[in-house]
């Protein structure tokens, strides 16, 4: 089959690779109809995520048609499904608490040591996202093997466009959980850093959950216009002093809840005793943790800090004093995707949530290399790329 494979920094290629096969009884094989490039994929593209291997198939936001099932899969051939990016077993303690991204059993045992060393406990399995989260081939491909297919995938009714439901796999539940973690109360002003797909869905979710006002922060005019279109007030951090603006716009109180949907992923993903190859890619010069620091300092006393943005390791100069002295609550985590799917699918079907507005580019899987370059180089206008395996190259 054809698939988008990683070969190194800024080097991704559409190659011919072996078809996936059923390995375990609960597996299913999905023929992919739509697959997206995520902000998280850019960090693989930039070469900042350790434990990648040349030839790894990327992609963790995808949907398609069931074409093969293992004996214990509950899916049926021909069903259309959206697949969560988190591979969760449904039967461990964490899954029983619906903390799916804490699942103990999705990541092959031999790949769990790095996370256990870095974070103290094992990491979940993720599609197409390095070997420390399992080394699972991802979904920017014609076909993908889906483990625990009886737990994760959600069946989509016929007649609903891929574009409307594709983001159930990752960024929609991520934005939703970000807003949920902000514990929004009546009258709240919520500030959201980052107007990428995750931030935009967090804005939409916060308003649905009853936020009185949402203030969105970015520096890309087009992304800010999408935020404004959702009903947010917007701030451009290149033009405005964010702390001063937030304090003024909240009457000197500070936002009740702050959401960091910027993240810094690779920054500090590495602790001192991890191999040099990993150290070499440490993203030292970045100013991205700036957003999290700024959010914590701006947040009102007794307020809430929600962090959907990805962090992997240590960060310097974390304003822990502000967190403690102001009595803030911090909530974060990889998204428990499976927990939110039924309710979010219903909201989409009832037109309460629109997911299609952020798709800027649709192209053939064969053109995925171009898609990565555009999403990377033209962030203002290129807000989301959806790849279609059955489109002809150049379509």
């Amino acid at each position: 089959m054809r698939a988008l494979t990683w070969h190194g920094k800024h080097d991704v290629r559409v190659d011919t690779v072996p078809d996936p096969e059923i390995i375990n009884p609960r597996d299913a094989i999905i023929k992919i109809t739509s697959t997206a490039i995520c902000g998280s994929d850019l960090h693989l593209y930039d070469g900042y995520i350790p434990t990648m291997q040349a030839g790894d198939i990327l992609g963790h936001e995808f949907m398609g048609e069931v074409v093969e099932t293992g004996p214990k899969s509950t899916l049926k051939k021909g069903q259309r499904v959206v697949v969560p990016f988190v591979i969760a077993c449904g039967s461990c303690y964490h899954c029983s608490k619906q903390q799916y991204s804490g699942c103990d059993n999705g990541n092959p045992a031999d790949n769990q040591d790095i996370a256990q060393e870095l974070w103290g406990q094992v990491a979940p399995g993720l599609f197409g996202y390095s070997h420390m989260t399992g080394g699972y081939p991802g979904g920017q491909a014609e076909y993908v093997r889906v483990p625990f297919s009886d737990v994760g995938p959600i069946v989509i009714p016929d007649g609903v466009d891929d574009d409307k439901v594709l983001f159930l796999s990752d960024i929609l539940p991520t934005g939703w959980m970000a807003a949920e973690n902000a514990d929004i109360e009546d009258g709240d002003i919520v500030a959201v850093w980052g107007c990428g797909p995750v931030g935009l869905f967090a804005i939409q979710s916060a308003l649905l959950m009853g936020a009185h006002r949402v203030i969105a922060i970015d520096h890309f005019p087009h992304r800010l216009s999408l935020a404004k279109g959702l009903g947010a007030e917007v701030l451009n951090f290149e033009e405005t002093d964010i702390y001063d603006a937030l304090m003024t716009m909240t009457g000197g109180i500070g936002p009740d809840a702050v959401i960091d949907s910027v993240g810094l992923e690779s920054h500090g993903l590495f602790v001192d005793n991890i191999v040099d190859q990993i150290k070499a890619s440490t993203f030292l010069g970045t100013d991205r943790p700036h957003a999290l620091r700024q959010a914590i300092v701006a947040c009102r006393k007794g307020g809430r800090v929600s962090v959907p943005g990805v962090y992997g390791g240590m960060i310097d100069k974390f304003p822990f004093g502000a967190l403690m002295e102001k009595g803030l609550t911090l909530k974060t985590g990889q998204t428990h995707v499976q927990r939110y799917l039924p309710a979010l699918l219903t909201a989409i079907m009832e037109d309460k949530i629109d997911t299609t507005f952020m798709i800027s580019d649709r192209m053939a899987l064969e053109d995925a290399q171009k898609g990565y370059k555009k999403f990377h180089d033209e962030q203002n206008v290129c807000t989301k790329v959806v790849l279609k395996p059955d489109w002809a190259k150049g379509a």
Binding site: P18, D19, E21, I23, N24, P25, R26, K72, I87, C89, G90, S91, C92, Y93, S96, D104, N105, G106, N107, P108, A109, D110, Q112, D113, V122, G125, G134, G135, Y136, P137, P147, F148
Partner: protein, 190 residues
């Protein structure tokens, strides 16, 4: 061990001996004076009786113990083990030294290339959380410290393997399968 200053001072805390920073104390956990001791625990969301029963049927262990090439059950208390090591295979007979149904199994190697012994215990976790499975493994590396270093590099070091094997045991018991990305006997594709 801490020196008591006041009556009632804690001279030995409640941690398992195999987590001690003191080499001697740690070594004291080795049932037969083996030189390397390690332990690991995992909580499995299944009843102790089920986990014990699966484990006690030693032929099952090769399912999740990756380095085990073969386990031949000879009688109720004796099995013959062939295990991949850093420099080829090692063999021994494992004799059950302790067997408390649903609770604990202890063993010791005889006639073997690698002196080793250990135990696995099954204790009820907090309500609703299943069973805590703890394993202790003591062994003396065949070629002394060098063997151990080599084993570490090749990731066949018994303590690392024990940790991974217990994760696989948990996966198998909780999900009915072992997470992997490798198809069995993958045919080379053209």
């Amino acid at each position: 061990m801490a020196e008591p200053e006041l009556p009632g001072d804690i001279v030995r805390d409640d941690a398992p001996a195999f987590t001690s920073k003191d080499r001697d104390e740690r070594g004291g956990a080795a049932p037969n004076g083996e030189s390397s001791v390690s332990g690991v625990a995992v909580t499995i969301n299944r009843p102790a009786s089920e986990l014990y029963a699966y484990w006690r049927d030693f032929g099952n262990l090769a399912t999740f113990m990756l380095n085990v090439e073969a386990i031949e059950v000879k009688d109720h208390d004796r099995s013959h083990w062939t295990v991949a090591g850093p420099n080829g295979s090692y063999e021994w007979d494992a004799i059950v030294t302790e067997d408390v149904p649903d609770t604990r199994i202890g063993w010791r190697a005889e006639h073997g290339d690698v002196p080793n012994s250990g135990w696995v215990s099954f204790t009820e976790a907090a309500p609703g959380r299943g069973t805590v499975v703890t394993a202790m493994i003591a062994y003396s590396p065949p070629a002394g410290i060098v063997g151990k270093l080599v084993a570490k590099v090749t990731q066949k070091e018994p303590a690392i393997q024990a940790r991974r094997d217990l994760r696989r045991f948990k996966q198998l018991m909780e999900t009915g399968e072992i997470a992997t990305t490798t198809p069995p006997n993958r045919e080379p594709k053209s």
